[in-house]
Symmetry: C2
Subunit: 167 residues, 2 copies
Amino acid sequence: MSFRMERPLDELDWRILAELQGDGRLSFKELGRRISLSPPAVAERVRRLEQAGVISGYRAQVEPGRAGYPLTAFVEMRCSLGKCLLKTSRAEDYPEVVEIHKVSGDRCAMLKVRTASLEHFEGVQERLGNHGEIRSTVVLSTQYEGRPVEPPAEDFLRASRSEGWRR
Amino acid sequence: MSFRMERPLDELDWRILAELQGDGRLSFKELGRRISLSPPAVAERVRRLEQAGVISGYRAQVEPGRAGYPLTAFVEMRCSLGKCLLKTSRAEDYPEVVEIHKVSGDRCAMLKVRTASLEHFEGVQERLGNHGEIRSTVVLSTQYEGRPVEPPAEDFLRASRSEGWRR
DNA sequence: CGTGAAACTTGCCAATT
DNA sequence: AATTGGCAAGTTTCACG
């Protein structure tokens, strides 16, 4: 399915990714116009990015707040032995959990949860609590989410880059 | 720009959202076929969902790991007075920060960060540390992320849900 | 909300530079 | 490897029932 990318992404690839992350339904014609390339040329590049798994799909972005889930929270799990959420539950059991990350440290997972209300969240929290200790952080507001993946700084002159990182 | 939805989402709306979250480039014809509705009818519904802000856009999904950012981490900020990240910095200053949430509790923000390496992350952490105390959690692996927004449980028998989640 | 037809746009393939 | 041209297919969108 997912072939390796023989060559790292060049500037044109990144420009394609930038455009497609902004509008995933651009036609090859329009996309080619924006990055100054012919439709067949962009088509081949996009196909290559897809096969390499860099582009994993095209999706409509749904605003959770407008779709009945105004409340977002992070829940860190420190599961008890034999009760680990990851091993005793499945995705269908927790539709409210939209992200699951296994993490370092003494905790075992970081969850992002979306609920319809505080009451709803309370219920989810109780159910998650059956697996072990939990630590919840309720989101008050979100500055941004789903920021596009950008090219590495060293590949381009990026005027806004203020300070370099240590090596 | 963003009008309110006069009526809550009905079953057809949710089926449209499910399909479009699975493939954002479906034609009205194919989309209509899948939910048993005529192309003009779905087009109208989709347009309404867009104008209501439920669908905020269509984007290509880029796999950060395949695009040079294999490392994900969460960083909780407890900013010092007058040095709050949210007030002293701009998005361009931290391209590695892909999410910013203001949160409850004694912390002020939860960040999701993507970097090219541990060294890169170390640098970001140092820079963020200038704003105050930070608490970092490195992601070891991700079960899933970007799970589709689903209809509230009470509205449907969940049997009709067919789309799989990523990973 | 469904159907049908017209017009547009797109994607694809060939040949060329 | 990328550009140009043309053709075929699909899609959108309108008017009407």
